[in-house]
Assembly symmetry: D4
């Protein structure tokens, strides 16, 4: 997709200011990467969730071209955006919304503001520790992008279970729980033994040594003695929010 | 819990007929194992799904005592029942329902008959191959035990995707999909890219060599490029059905 | 070590009764295996815990010879005894004590009776589920063999944490806690966040699929977010009891 | 092999311009590394594919010496070239062809232009997503280097299978398919169930968390329920193209 | 598919002779398992290789029903058949061909006789040791079933490479090589460095200790320093033969 | 928790001096991160060890806020502090104590000075090699923070066991041993066979190749043939000291 | 190789006595398996150690044919012989020597008697525990077969290092040490730090839980902090003895 | 050990020239690290190989102090030296010998010159590819340090076995072979099948993808079908040379 004049002006200014390198600008102008892209613009209709741009391992130009193409008529989200790419995308799309800690960037939606239409919390995202916040925020931002009412409760891991107490009313009211935990990943088991709502468990790579970058909480969550827990990939806050969306959409 | 006279008569007859060994009968009469059991009779109320007896690695007497205690007032299910234990449980509880291929035994419910109250299929269980049937049947039996309307479609793996075609209407109508697959475990990705319903993915230990007893489909499902897939443990048809129950119950 | 006349008579009677095979009797009489044994009779003095016979992968004659030699002057314990070996040892040493479910056999001590000298529980062994009982009993029997006051509380896993409540006074009173759990192995974390006593965590091979025969609870326990947890090998109830002994002995 | 005067001049100019460090120039001039090289100049004759320089973990001088020696009479290819080495090789061999995104460098051939002699596509390289492009391009460049007619189709992964539709005629016409995929690696299974041509599957390290740097698609491809799939190492686009060459050469 | 009278008579005779158990006969007559089967009768046309029955983890009745249905009009093959099932299938289908060492059973073809139409060997199957023979025979039988000219050379592993010498002419003449090896799996690398034909590498589970049931040769083959090697699953002789078929069919 | 004037002045000075970046200062002033923190101020009372700040994967502001809040009335420790964060914390809390090699920072205690109240060594920390010192120092600093009398003996690994000799009196006198080792991790086995005190084993990530970043000593310690060894996570000197504290506190 | 009359008579007698099944006798007589064997009769000359028959996963007839062929002119050894095969081989070759505990069978040598020509011990085989004896005996028998002077010292593992003391003179005198150990595998490190002779380390599969069938001692031995240790496969006593032979032969 | 005046002068000059940082100089002068060192000066006498300094994960001051102390009376070697430390050590010990590509530094010996006393090659070091050279050079330098006659032959991997031919005379003459290989690690098997000398196999981390940083050649070498191969850790050229030294020393 060729750039429009406004985008072109912005691009050139950023080059002048040193925000974007000459090589990237050259690639953007030549559009020589996006000839290989085949976008799935029909996915929203089939699955209720449109195509999202997975940012890891992609060049800036690949991400830009996908966002520009998919964002023509609908909001579009990109995940796993590096810090460097995030700043450059903000320069390329000044109206876009960047949430650096969540590694999210989107066009056409506000990831940082809760949806006022959802006064009662539909999705409650719970973390075991504050090191799990980046993944929890990826889930939170994605949930907001998908139009869900989502809230975040942090730091209620099993080393101090009493911290769950003040949150029990919200936990019982939530229609879906997303439990985000690293280390031994015990939080979903505890919640699954206390609550009626389905639990989506997200292991994180928080930990060291025999944690093996999230393998430990992943295995623990798959072996939860409390049934009714669905597990997603390590650090996959995005996937958890999409599953929540699919669960909640079916109810309408 | 002591046995009632009818159970006692039945037990003695089975001993006489050689169906139950003297040692087991002795243990049953002495009740010397169940002193260590602490049952969670309150779980139904907290989580919508009552305590279920996990049969693997337990002695016959442990399973019997748990079933008898939990089954006093409510139906109760036991999973991962060995063939030998299954026959003995049928002797101990002649009114119980044994589904050998699903490794399930229950009191107070019929695992083999679909619920007539659910004409439209709420849960559709789909298998990649016929080797996945035992796990799929564990999910089917559990779903029926929990009162869900559940159906089973077999043998629609990705090596012949056209076999999905005749089932697309049911797949689109189902409120939850349980996708059961071994080998490379690609079925949930394909379904997740086609359907709006949440997908619960169950890897099975079907396969050999570098399958590593289900590790391959487990990893594949966790890495599904179609988001909105929640994964349970290898061969855990039971857990998939409980998650389906929790998803669907929230809708009422 | 040659057999005494009484042992010889007993051996021959068992051969006559078919309890012991001719080959084993021959080996016992010839004593042709124990020439390779080098026993560590000095270990009790160095480490407070004498040499114990590890029964797995050993022949009956190897176990017999070690027990006979080590048991001359002191009580002696054998662990991981198979069912078949257990019965044969009982025949060879009629005064010995066999606890089949714990896979323990000993000379000179009673594994099944608590020590009356320890009215207040010094070691409290806690299991997550009843499938963990064999390992918990190995810890219990070993603790009794070592002269500790030990008690067992079963089935208080994290899927129903309220079951911990009636046991909190004993848990707070215990000087060492041994927490035995399979599946996701979360119990030590929960206890470690509640109690002052050191926690010895024993992962068990209870579980299936992605449990990997105890790897999951092992990793979870090593990554416990509640510090102060020392972990032993999978299914190693024996080692946990020895560590408890070493901790408690230092206090006198 | 000593440098010729033209190479020497070029080298010195690059040193002057700062393109090549003094240390490297010194090594090149001294030729002190290549005494350890033993080149396999006879491989082309034995196996139809001449020796190729594997660039990873080698010093610039090792790569230079091998290229110079092997490239005396025939074209020669180097793979897994780092960005830094690529630029320096381009300086050392101004007539060489560098394809940075494919990490390839060669003498005596053009990696970027398709062979006009192959109007009907003999090898079709297919990727699941655009993150797989670097590996697919390694396959594409190698295939061109080997004289094959090769084309690339991108972004037709299983999350949107309809994207395969417009490419089915080419897929059915291709004599060999190279399927490149990361994440769950399901593409080769789907293609293997649809097509008559042999499928060469290339897992990529695209993904995160429980992907384990390509282990997941590798295992999935080895367990493909569609038989007739040959798998190469993770990210090994080069090996896939060589296998295609060997398959196609046999046909003449 | 109901049985025809001849099959029925045969079945009843086998029950009378004790060759087939009552339970299996009952299942066969009721046909109560095959309602879950969805056969892919169109696969031959799409992929040149018809559906094959994977026998592992299936009941006898599942295998029987699939063979009967698929074998109506075309030959059909079943793989990974247990010894017990093999004998029972031979009873059920007296005209079928059972190759016990290869774990193969088929209807409508002769697995044990080479095809006279292929005087020059098209596929040469080579094993490192005689422990690899069962897998090599699975490849050989499958190749014959698919109409290929296939021969087997055994015991030419790298510990005595001179044993390759007398076979070099056949190796150079073969159009496809299937190299079957356990232990360190080095044979495909050696052959790949000597020959022009494509090499299909089959790791076997031959070995012990740090072999990890075939993981070692699998990894070694994927890392072959001789390019042009396509690897299939551990012990997957069947898949290797199908890949050979696909490679060779394209040549006509 | 808002900053007090003194902290504010210090912060601004550091910004002026370039010690702290503007972004961090902004975050500190806005306090916009710590709204997600839920601190467990009650932990000291329940478990004898108060909440400690785990520094890995946290932002500077998260660590600062936790330290400030937890440190209001009691000393507080932070572990796994990066070099960069360590310097910035020293700037933010000039009275704090930073031990860079141990990756520790604390308020209200001196990590570098042994406690004069403990003339006889209660905890003896022993390392196999000098590469294990950073982890041993984490244990030493934590033990001092917790009020234990702790000493360190270095470089007594099994390749030169005679080096243990001069330390045997202290080893026999110590009430708890913390054994820190990488490579093959044999030290705890040797000590466990020599001493009466409980052994806490800490595997370290010292080593390369098949060490797998500490997996080897972790497995070795779990399989110690000397019973009475409790293992903590790889590189977890902190957890070892807390376990020592719990063991020793029970003795008073 | 056809049987001679004496062998034939022996075979038929064993069939009559039920020692050998009809099927095996049929195979032996038809010689229909050994057509696939390619024996390496030249290996002795090349490598100082002739071809040995690896018995695992082979049929009785494969083993018999290889022994008969290789044993025509020289002694020949077979390893990893199952109990059942061992008895049948003893029947087929009444003059052969079977050492059941070592899983060895040989023709033309006596595995059970030490070589009188080697009064000073050239190879000393040392085990950590008595569970390691089967592997140590495989090494011992192989060493004797190869003409080495070999002795065995058992049960000197690191849990009681003083047990090494009485053996230090022999250890210092030995020209090669073979150290056999399971569990944590620390023995080779201790010996490597004490002795001048090269250490060949043999990990065994003795242990349970996180031992992973010998993986733990294998990794520990590879990471030995005492250099000069060469490691062979888990349970590979045979390979250790061959390496000893190659080391010692060079000295003459 | 305090510095002598010459060392002090050199140190200060380097600080002035910026070669050594102030912090390091401070540590060196204060000698505040080496108080934790316990050197094993007696090792040479016990094991024929004196203590060597393992440089990985150590600070410059730790390495310096060890070298200075151990090097008082004898030559001393340090391994796994980083590039940065290597330069600084060269500054601190101007008479030392640095071999950067081998990551070795030593005092009192010349690593780069072969020993003229060993005209016939005692140790032959062979590599599969030129990427394996750094590890081979570590073996070569260590062998020279230990006084062995050692030579290096490079690039004779199994993809072109004919390259072995010109080296067969030296290979047959060598008393010990060190075979260094990455990728599939097949070289030791090939050599073990050809030669009488003992083979020491060194896997390297050369490779990518499913090589897993040397795990593949490590496993392959442990499973070598040619017996008589002793394996050391991945990339452990040093250990291979020490084992060669111990093998060869015994011969005198």
């Amino acid at each position: 997709m060729p750039m429009n004049p406004q985008e072109l002006t912005s691009l050139l200014r950023d080059v002048a200011a040193g925000n974007i390198s000459c090589e990237t600008a050259q690639a953007v102008l030549a559009g020589n990467e996006n000839k290989d892209l085949t976008l799935d613009t029909w996915r929203q209709e089939r699955t209720n969730v449109g195509e999202v741009v997975y940012g890891q391992g992609k060049t800036l130009e690949q991400i830009r071209a996908s966002l520009a193409e998919l964002g023509r008529h609908h909001p579009v989200l990109a995940t796993k955006i590096s810090t460097a790419h995030g700043q450059e995308l903000k320069n390329l799309f000044p109206n876009g919304c960047l949430w650096e800690e969540a590694r999210l960037f989107c066009l056409g939606a506000d990831l940082l503001a809760a949806d006022p239409k959802a006064p009662d919390s539909e999705v409650l995202i719970v973390t075991a520790g504050s090191s799990d916040l980046p993944v929890a925020r990826e889930a939170l931002g994605t949930a907001r992008f998908l139009g869900l009412g989502a809230h975040l409760v942090s730091d209620v891991g099993v080393a101090g279970l009493h911290r769950l107490d003040p949150h029990l009313p919200s936990l019982r009211q939530a229609r879906v729980i997303i439990a985000v935990a690293g280390m031994e990943g015990a939080l979903p088991s505890v919640l699954g033994g206390l609550l009626k709502a389905p639990i989506i468990a997200v292991p994180t790579s928080t930990g060291y040594g025999a944690n093996f970058a999230g393998l430990t909480p992943l295995l623990a969550m798959l072996n939860s003695c409390a049934p009714g827990v669905g597990v997603v990939n390590i650090d996959n806050g995005f996937g958890a929010a999409v599953l929540a969306k699919k669960i909640l959409t079916r109810q309408e």
